[in-house]
Structures are given as C-alpha cells and as structure tokens.
Amino acid sequence: MLSIKNLHASIDGKEILKGINLEIKAGEVHAIMGPNGSGKSTLAAVLAGRSEYEVTEGEIIYNGKNLLDLEAEDRAREGVFLAFQYPIEIPGVSNINFLKTAIGEIRAYKGLDPMSAKDFLMMMKEKQKLVEIDRTLINRSINEGFSGGEKKRNEIFQMAMLEPKLSILDETDSGLDIDALRIVANGVNKLKSEENATIIITHYQRLLDYIIPDFVHILHNGKIVKSGLKELALELEEKGYDFIKEEVEA
C-alpha cells in the first residue's frame, strides 16, 4: 500500500528526514516511535502534503501512485488521512457542513453520486456511536472550544466518516487521560480492516497496549534506526530512548 524509499525532507533549509525507508501493507498497523525532534511529525506532515516541507530526495509510492505528485486534497481523496497532533479550531464552520463538503468532494473525485442527506445523517449517527462522541460536539463549529480529548476524539470521528485506506495518527495519545485514550483506541480498533493500514506515531508505549502494532520502528535523527515486532516498544519503554542513541552512536 505504501512504500517510502530514501525519503529526505527539510524545512527552511534544515534537513529533518535523512533517508526514511518504510513498507506498509494493507491490514497492517505500524508504530513509529522516537524522541522529540527525531522527525516523527515531519514524516506525518510530508505524507499529508504540507507544503512547508520540501522533499529533497526519495519517493513515496501509495497504491501505485506517486504520492508526492498529489496535492493535499487529492491525497485525502485517495484515502490518506492524518489525525492531527494539534487539531485546528475553525469557528463558523460546523462539523456537519465540513464533513458534508469533504464527503461530497471525495465522492465527486471518485466519480460517485452525491450522498443523500438521509444516508449522510444515518452514517453520522452510526459513526458517532462507534467513536463515542457527544452529538452536541458534532453540532458545533470544528473543534471550537473543545477540550484536548474532545479534539482528538473528533479526529477519530472524522476518520470514521471519511473511511480512509491509510490513517496516520500523529501523537493522538498526547494529552489524553486513560479513559479518553481507551475510547480513542477502541474507535481505531473498530475501524481496522484487512483493506486499510494504520501508522501510529507516538512518544510513549501506552497507546500500543490498546492498539496492538504489527511492527514498531524507532526513528532517530531523521532515520529509522531500528525495526521490530511489538516487543520492541516494551524494550524501549523500559530502557528509554538513550539506549537507542547509545546503540546508534556506538
């Protein structure tokens, strides 16, 4: 589904990603862990199509398409979804109008007929239940006045509505108390299928107790320095990131 080869990316002339290689197949869950400043969020931003980041080398092939050739909106229409680390508040645009517009454009891109108002509402209801998000939140403007946990839950709700093929969760666990973390993880697990893949970017291992990854990668200084199975996350938690630094620098 996704093949990243020798990806280099920089912002304001400063190189952040220094040769990432990663293969992800449908049905897999990959965790990317790493200390602050290792390039985790940059990787997410480059995948989603943030224009501030310049890709200087390498390629990303997504379902046979060159992802880097696509605008951010076309990536989303092709099924790439980024759950933002810091979801933006947009006063004056209701969640409902936002999702209606998004789904309308995605369907038009795929050459599908517009969704009927009735089907849309039914889908909203169903997905709302799935991710346990309060209806009153959905009726409000996008993230306006939402708590940190509510914002993260809204990201997962949007993910449920847009039914992406590749979801990238950028530090979705940060700032969540354990109850909210369980709800979010539960939502993600329910949305998992054989056809879609998930990348979980996180600093801590805790989220991985609830969303079990198939593979764990450790990012350090713009490169994946170690990959392994889910046990790697536990090792990392136990020994701390310093052990990676020492290992790499040794």
Partner: protein, 433 residues
Amino acid sequence: METVIKTRTIKDKLNFEFEKSKLFLFGSTQLRDKAMESYYKQGIPTRKHEEYKYTRVDLMLKGEFDFSANKNCSDAQIEPLKFIKDAYVAVIENGIFVEGSSNLQNLPEGLTICSLVDAEKSNSPVFEKHYAQYADVKADPFIALNTAMTKDGVFIHVAKNAIIEKPIHIIHISTTSEDTIIHPRNLIVVDENSQAKIIESFETVDATAKTVSNALTEIVVDKHAIVDHYKIQDEKELGYLVNTTQVIQQKQSVFSTHTFTLSGSFVRNNLTLVLDDEHIESHLNGLYLTAGNQVVDNHTVVDHRKPNCNSNELYKGIIDGKSAATFNGKIFVRKDAQKTNAFQSNKNILLSEDGTINTKPQLEIYADDVKCSHGSTTGKLDEAKIFYLRARGIGIINAKKLLMHAFASEVVNTIKIEALREYIEENISKTFQ
C-alpha cells in the same frame, strides 16, 4: 452657452439647482436655506478634511450632473428587489416615493407609511415634531446638502405599544442614463413600547451612468421601544452612495443596526447613535465585501450621554483586488455616562496584495467608572485552517470559501429575519465565486 455650463464647479451646479427647485420642495424654506448656507461653509470635503481623509468624495462629484433623474423602471424590474416576500414594501425611485410600486395595503393598526411630502401635507404632528431634528447640518456637508435639497422619501411611524411583526422594507432604486445626484430622505419614528424591523436596501436598476445617492435616514427609538434595522447596499459598478443614518434612543430602548455592503463603486456610511437616556442597549454590526476598485468607508459614532447603557459594535470586512476599506469607530462616553459598557471590534481579511484597509478606533471617555474596549485585526486567511480542510479532501477554492463564510458568519448570524439571512448568505456565496 453649453460650454459655460460644462465648466461650472459642483458648487455652482448645486447652487443653481437649489435656487431653481427650492420653491417646489416640501417643508420649510427657512430650514433649507440654513442647511444650504451650512453646506457652503463646509464645502465638499477633500483629503484634508479629517473625517474624509481616506476617501476621496470630491472625485466622485467630478463631471457633469443631471439633477432630474430621467428614467423610471418597470414593476418587472422592481419585483426581484423585493427579496423579503412577506413584508411591507416602500419603493423610492431616484429619491421619490412611488406608491404604485410599493406594497402598503392592509397596514396593521399603529403603522403609518407614506411619502415625506404626504406626511408634511397632512400636517402630521409626529412628522412636525421630529423632522430634521437629529442629523445636524453643521456636523457634515452631506447632511447639510440632503436637508437643503431632498425632494422626498419615506415617513414611517409606529404608534405607541404597536408590535409590527412583518419587516418593513424600504427599497432605494437609482435608475438613470445621465450622471445624477439624488438626496432621498427617510424619517422613522418608533414610539414608546413598540417594536419594528426595518430593512433599507440600495440598488441600481438599468443604470447607464453614474448615480450618486446622498441618502439620509433619521430614526427615533422612543422609551422601551425595540428596533431592528438593516441596510443592504448593493448598487453595483455605477453606484456611489453616501448613506447617513442618525439614531436617537430613549430610555430602556434597544436598537440593533446591521450594515451589509455587497457592492457599489463607492460607499460611505455615516452612522451615529445617540444614547440619550439610561439603560439603553445598542448593537452595531457591519460586513463589507470589497473587490476591484471599490471604496467602502464606515464611520460610526456611539454617543453615550447617560449612565448604565450598553453598546456593542462588530464590523468585519473581506478585502480583495485593489479595493480600499476604512473603518472609523468613535465612542464618546460623556461625563454623566457612568457605568457605561462600550465594546468595539473590527476584523479584516485582506485577500490581495493591492487591497487597503484603514482601521481607526477612537474612544473619548470623560466618565471614570466605565468598561470600554476596542480591538482591530487585519490578516490573511489562516494557512493552517486551509490545510486542515484540504487534508480532509476539500479543494483549495472551497476551503477558502468555507473560511470566508465562517468569518462572515459572526455578523450574518446577527440577522434575525430568516429570509434576509438567507438572501445575504446567497449573495456572499456569489461574491466568493
């Protein structure tokens, strides 16, 4: 002879027109003479005039002018302008009230709507008491000119304790094939404990020449009255509008005014609210969408004269192309006006490199126990918000449109007449095409 006329200054032309027509105009000759004299003293403001330094009204008045606007529009042309279906409609064409095009059948008890000429003819005591009592001819040359030269307009009276459920819609239409200056004038008196919703719209129909409209409305909001007032300015490329709104509010009254500037080459709004007693509430909302070479200038004054009043002002603008917008908001809190709450906010989005926004809050506070604040911001559309929407599959054009709607919605949502809110929303969508 022809060439001599063409080189006359605007002052000469106005004087000639004034002398020629004043005997035929309604109202007191004395009032008109005094107003004209005041106009001569002030002259057409230039850039040196503090209140007009950002907007060149003198340029608007260059060229030859016809003072007897020479066209009439058909009912078929007027019909689409009646965008509030269930309303009492008064049509003013080139500054003259046209009863035949208006919809004033079955007015409810307590509501009077007629031409200014008829109000004067019928010796209405309400008209006599209030006409030309509030907009001060010495304060502004356009007030002086309007007072001297107006030919007609609408008189609306809502009697004590009357609640007028349907909106009252005054449609100002300019239609001309010669450069024209007109001076429509309205007087609206809402008596004690009564309520009304009033919409004034400004439109051009089939205009093939410049139409300068120097329109003035005086509004009296008596004790405990509640008035909701809307101005929809949509005069297209040939429209030049100076729109003065002078409001006097009495004890415990509530007045809300909303100014929507959708189009027009030049729009200058002079909006003044005088809060002349205690426990008054005032809301001033404005939205201007400018593009091309448009000039839109909002000057507002909120004059707190007595204690315990609240005023709240919110103006927002989206500026594109080479257009220029000005917001100048004055708040006076007089010595007696203790416990005043006065808030003002002006927010702008600049879409282009060549657009201009001048924003100038002016607070003059002479009381010591008050809460006043003002703020103004000018920025671009937020890139982070655009990206968030795009990351969900929304194309860049629709993303920007959504954000502009969102920005405008804070003002649009203050509209209490649903049909009007829908009309404005539709027009905003068209503007953003």
